[in-house]
């Protein structure tokens, strides 16, 4: 067991992947000499060389597209997109090529490409540096999408993404990069595509993922003071979603709040609400309530605190759920 930050845990996870499998390689902008703008790949070029940690030309479609080609040649590329808002020049390659390659080939080919995307707000940054575009990828079949919320998951989920035969997008909660926690580097956790119940409760369930997991836990603690026993689930995987775990919880608690930073409209919360409403219709004492961003581009830094779902927004949603 070692204590480390999420950033360090991903660094160690990448290091382990590079060491374990010579077919792995890292590609991205500024990931080599600089070690990435968040230093997540710090030291890896020095230790594995420029053929395995590749500072690419500045072109996201190029990064994803050449990664697909490398995968076709038997490599396992791990691409870094510098910020959430800059994945879009690579959207075509992800959506029409990476996701569809396996189906196109009737299952003959796979493209085990990993795409790391630091995402989310709360870092006081400028435009395009604080977005949560996960829903724009979740709708596309062929991709898998995971997001760790703590160092232990970060360390293992990145490695599990690398060894998965399917393309995996790893959304890294960038405002939690310096969150510390224990990492058991000896024992792998289970499947990265399952949800984890982080706190047991009996009156309501809060589902969150990535950067909002600590917020959900804090909200549950605050609710306890009001006499409400709130269960908290870390979704961990956005595609597929572990609906079994959520359904089981809601069947017990009867109330569900889903929280994410991404705008509510068309967000992944809608999928969860719709499916759980169907699966647990007769158990629900209140409608599923979503807490998310508003229907606007991510706002300027000076107002992001008002924008981001926080403890109070989750508590307010709980109030509404308990009002039924």
């Amino acid at each position: 067991m070692a204590t480390m930050t999420i950033a360090r845990a991903i660094n160690e996870g990448l290091r382990a992947s590079l060491a374990n499998d010579p077919k792995t390689l890292l590609m991205g902008e500024d990931i080599g000499e600089l070690g990435g703008v968040y230093r997540v790949t710090d030291g890896l070029k020095k230790d594995f060389g420029a053929m395995r940690v590749v500072d690419s030309p500045l072109a996201e479609s190029g990064i994803i597209g050449t990664a697909i080609g490398l995968a076709l040649r038997g490599y396992r590329p791990i691409c870094e997109i510098q910020f959430d808002g800059f994945v879009f020049p690579g959207f075509n390659q992800i959506t029409t090529q990476l996701a569809k390659l396996r189906t196109r080939s009737d299952g003959m080919l796979s493209a085990p490409v990993v795409i790391r995307i630091p995402y989310g707000g709360g870092i006081g940054s400028v435009e395009h540096h604080s977005e949560s575009p996960e829903a724009l990828f979740a709708h596309t079949a062929g991709l898998r999408i995971i997001t760790p919320s703590n160092p232990q998951d970060a360390y293992w989920m990145i490695q599990q993404a690398v060894s998965c035969e399917d393309p995996v997008i790893v959304f890294e909660p960038k405002r939690r990069y310096w969150l510390k926690g224990e990492v058991d580097t000896g024992a792998p956790v289970g499947d990265p595509f399952t949800a984890h119940v982080l706190r047991r409760g009996t009156d309501a369930t809060v589902v969150a993922y990535g950067p909002l997991v600590p917020v959900a836990l804090a909200a549950a603690a605050a609710a306890e003071e009001d006499g409400r026993s709130v269960e908290v689930i870390d979704l961990r995987s956005i595609s597929p979603i572990d609906f079994d775990t959520v359904t089981e919880s809601v069947t017990r608690t009867g109330r569900l709040i889903v929280a994410h930073e991404a705008p509510t409209f068309g967000g992944i919360g809608g999928e969860i609400a719709a499916r759980i409403s169907e699966r647990a219709f007769l158990s629900l004492e209140a409608p599923v309530i979503r807490v998310g961003g508003f229907h606007m581009p991510y706002p300027v830094a000076r107002v992001e605190e008002q924008y981001l779902p926080d403890i109070d927004r989750i508590l307010e949603a709980l109030d509404r759920a308990f009002a039924y």
Partner: protein
């Protein structure tokens, strides 16, 4: 945002019409084709072929196979068979046996010449029209028709043929070719005893405008990737003439990235083969990428759903018929005494058999069941797919029991 409104009439001035016509016909702008050629439209073979490429004089003699009679005959055979394949596929489409067909007639020399230049260990990334290249890579022609019959989006195992699946999103495959070439580089660093290899990215004059073509050239140049960019400039992107995509030969793009670009007569199979051999050797031996522009013409429609009379002059089509890639090689083979009527008749017989086998193969292709498609989405188990598959199975079996509604 709302500038003043102008009366419509103001736009209908003569300049507009002239500008439009210029863009359409592109006559006064496109540079006169200046390109490598060894066999001219009259079927006359030049003495040799040399060119100044990136400041060096390249003599293509070592790459030319003009004196190898069996080879010449086999090039003709490939071109002939794939044209026959094209005709049969067009017929099959007309008869409703294929959903769509993408003809290659006119581009046989560009495709057979470049395809035959490849070695087994090279790997090609086609668009959707490279049936000729497919043939040279050993893809069963009937396998190609599976896509156009709508029973698969693939059709063959690319790893067996070193010929990738058709890619319909224009230019996307060009980056895959570069990435694949970057993989070749790494393989060879790890095991220098591996045969040197390269990848080939096929794309058209229309696709050349897509950002992915640029990014693939940037990456290829940056990493000295062993890739040959092979652009078939067939003059048209559906109804849009190549002059809308570029005012200068596409081969010139390469200079801007610092690697060689060559324009070759795409209707001269011998020149195409030689230039591609040279380019592949260039790439394989660590000297970096090459761009080849094969100047050719799409003699048929864009697809069977297209009607070229809407946008191009039949005179143009006529004119290009005089540059037919098969005709000129036939003329040469006959005049050089390398082939006689018997050869051509034998080939016609062979093609007839091929066509009827093809037809039989197509008619026997069965549609997959949707059920089978659930398994092809992910390599590893996926609960949502499993859930939807269960629903689908129950839903379908419900009908088996009850009979359909409505």
């Amino acid at each position: 945002m709302n500038g003043g409104r102008l009366p419509t009439a103001e736009f209908e001035v003569e300049e507009v019409e002239r500008a439009a016509r210029t863009a359409e016909l592109g006559q006064d702008r496109q540079a006169e084709p200046d390109m490598l050629r060894i066999l001219d439209p009259e079927g006359r073979l030049a003495d040799g072929m040399t060119a100044g490429i990136a400041g060096e004089l390249v003599d293509f003699a070592p790459y030319l196979s003009t004196s190898d009679a069996p080879h010449l005959l086999s090039l003709y055979r490939d071109m002939y068979l794939v044209r026959r394949f094209d005709q049969e596929s067009t017929a099959l489409q007309r008869q409703g046996q294929l959903a769509l067909w993408v003809p290659l007639t006119g581009q046989e020399a560009a495709q057979i010449g470049s395809g035959r230049a490849m070695e087994a260990q090279d790997y090609a990334f086609p668009t959707y029209r490279e049936h000729g290249v497919a043939l040279t890579r050993g893809v069963e022609l009937s396998e190609i028709l599976r896509l156009f019959r709508g029973v698969t989006n693939g059709g063959w195992d690319p790893r067996e043929r070193n010929f990738h699946l058709y890619t319909l999103v224009l230019a996307a495959q060009s980056l895959h070719a570069v990435g694949y070439a970057m993989g070749i580089q790494r393989d060879q660093l790890a095991d220098p005893s591996l045969p040197q290899a390269a990848s080939v990215a096929y794309f058209g004059d229309g696709a050349s405008s897509e950002g992915d073509i640029h990014e693939s050239m940037v990456f290829a140049a940056s990493f000295d990737a062993p890739v040959v960019f092979f652009c078939q400039n067939n003059q048209w992107a559906i109804s849009v003439p190549s002059t809308v995509q570029t005012r200068v030969p596409l081969a010139k793009r390469a200079e801007g990235y610092g690697f060689p670009g060559v324009r070759v007569d795409g209707n001269d199979v011998l020149a195409v083969e030689a230039v591609t051999r040279w380019a592949l050797e260039h790439a394989r031996t660590g000297r970096g990428p090459v761009l080849i522009e094969a100047y050719t013409y799409r003699m048929s429609a864009h697809t069977t759903a297209d009607d070229p009379t809407k946008y191009r002059l039949s005179g143009d089509e006529q004119e290009w018929r005089t540059r037919d890639p098969l005709a000129r090689l036939e003329t040469y083979l006959r005049s050089a005494g390398l082939a006689d009527d018997a050869f051509f008749e034998g080939l016609a017989d062979e093609a007839r058999v091929m066509a009827s086998d093809l037809r039989a193969a197509v008619l026997s292709m069965t549609a997959p069941d949707l059920e089978s498609r659930f398994a092809a989405v992910y390599a590893e188990p996926h609960p949502l797919v499993q859930e939807e598959l269960r629903f689908f199975q129950q839903y379908e079996s419900g009908f088996a029991d009850e009979g359909k509604h409505a």
